[in-house]
């Protein structure tokens, strides 16, 4: 297993980085390229950029910022937001993205995952899942970038991730919506359940508030831990976090 990955997530809206709490009330958090460079310099292992309103507004992400990021940083990054076709994926990879994260469009048309995996390989196809706890189980939500369009699909999360990985997705970012922006820790039971269902890397997302939360996610087996608020608001510094995790015996790239 490679070193565990620390992954700052940058939500993008109208070309700016934003952050909301429980997917609502977005506020400005800075310039994309400045933020990308800052995280790269601090030792982030990978970055994720979500154009959070693209799917809900029925458009694809803006390739200009993908190119700008690809030009300045030398660590891997994933682009996400309204990628609906094989050709849109190709354009995004050609603009310099390393991986494509597909969320709502895969729910609209699961075959998209097969088309992307066939032409570009599983290693660049990431499934993003927004999972919500209800009635003692977890269900997939769609169009979470827009409070008006956000809806419960009724699909069980475990069924959905199995299906999409069978179709060729090479990684899953599991976002536990009830934890998003709340900083009370990742939903470890859910992370463990999803990992048990899959053989691809699983990235924990939603709920990180303290260094111990990252440790717990890695001890539970997550390949990476994604967070936004704690990094944007400088509550946790990545070099300190990596030092702490290394002391806990978790392999870190430093």
């Amino acid at each position: 297993m490679p070193a565990r990955r620390i992954i700052p997530c940058l939500d993008v809206k109208d070309g700016r980085v934003v952050k909301g709490v429980r997917f609502r009330d977005h506020r400005d958090a800075g310039d994309i390229v400045e933020q990308a460079t800052r995280y790269r310099d601090e030792g982030a292992d990978e970055l994720v950029f979500y154009d959070i309103s693209a799917s809900a507004e029925d458009r694809t992400l803006d390739l200009d910022w993908v190119r700008e990021i690809a030009r300045v940083i030398d660590i891997p990054f994933t682009a996400a937001g309204g990628l609906r076709t094989r050709d849109q994926g190709a354009a995004c990879l050609d603009a310099g993205a390393d991986k494509l994260s597909i969320n709502s469009p895969a729910l609209e048309r699961p075959e998209l995952i097969e088309e992307l995996a066939r032409d570009f390989g599983s290693q660049c196809v990431v499934l993003g899942v927004d999972s919500y706890q209800r009635d003692g189980d977890y269900f997939v939500h769609q169009y979470t970038g827009s409070p008006d369009k956000s809806r419960d699909t009724g699909l069980r999360t475990l069924d959905w991730v199995r299906d999409v990985c069978d179709r060729g997705a090479g990684e899953v970012v599991l976002n536990c919506m009830s934890r998003d922006g709340v900083r009370s820790g990742y939903d470890l039971d859910h992370v463990a359940a999803v990992m048990g269902a899959l053989t691809v890397p699983v990235i924990a997302s939603g709920g990180a508030g303290a260094p111990e939360h990252f440790r717990d996610a890695f001890v539970a087996g997550a390949s990476g831990a994604l967070a936004a608020t704690v990094f944007h608001d400088r509550i946790i510094a990545i070099p300190d976090l990596k030092e702490y995790l290394a002391k806990c015996g978790i392999e870190m790239r430093r």
């Binding site: 297993m1 030398d74 050609d94 310099g96 390989g121 290693q123 053989t199 699983v202």
Partner: protein, 192 residues
């Protein structure tokens, strides 16, 4: 220096092209055999599936020209796997420049596949610009056989070549353009 980035129409050239820009190099992006043969250096990138890539190499008439290059050449990720005899990915005959086979990585508990992320390497060849202990970024589901060509290795369940060298060819299973400072050292060493 004329550096050609081979465009098979199936890879993401973007990240490699932009990384070369960080070294002040504007590569010629082409699939034209004459352009490739006349280059000072050649990079064969690749994201995608071996079967489709070899089909493109055949259709573009590049099998002979790539196999007979004499100038320094670098295959990245799938571009490295294509240098071997054969890939289990869609049972594909590859370029046969380096003896050996490309096999699927088998997942196990605690060992997810694809091999995705930063792995520590052991370096056997001192002229790669790398040192043992460097972390490099990998993203692949198939890996080449370990053998005499292995110049640096990583571990993901089994030992896998991170870099191979054979004559004028170098192959990088990792992504130098996305491997931070260590990746930049490797690229710089190839570009010198």
């Amino acid at each position: 220096m004329k550096l050609v980035l081979v465009d098979l129409g199936c890879g993401n050239l973007g990240s490699v092209r932009l990384a070369l820009g960080r070294f002040g190099i504007e590569p010629v992006v082409t699939a034209d055999a004459e352009e490739i043969v006349s280059a000072d250096k050649v990079i064969l990138p690749g994201v995608g599936a071996a079967g489709f890539a070899m089909e493109r190499i055949g259709a573009l008439g590049l099998r002979g020209p790539l196999s007979s290059l004499k100038q320094p050449a670098l295959g990245i990720c799938l571009g490295m796997q294509l240098l071997f005899d054969r890939s289990d990915e869609e049972a594909t005959d590859c370029l046969g420049i380096i003896p050996g086979q490309v096999r699927r990585l088998e997942p196990a508990p605690g060992l997810p596949v694809p091999h995705m992320g930063w792995s520590r390497v052991e370096v056997r060849d001192p002229e790669l610009g790398l040192v043992s202990g460097d972390y490099l970024y990998f993203a692949h589901s198939f890996a080449c056989d370990d053998g005499p060509a292995t110049a640096a290795s990583a571990t993901h369940g089994r030992g896998i070549p991170a870099v191979v060298r054979s004559g004028n060819w170098l192959g990088a299973q990792f992504h130098p353009e996305r491997s931070g400072e260590a990746g930049a050292r490797f690229l710089e060493s190839f570009l010198q």
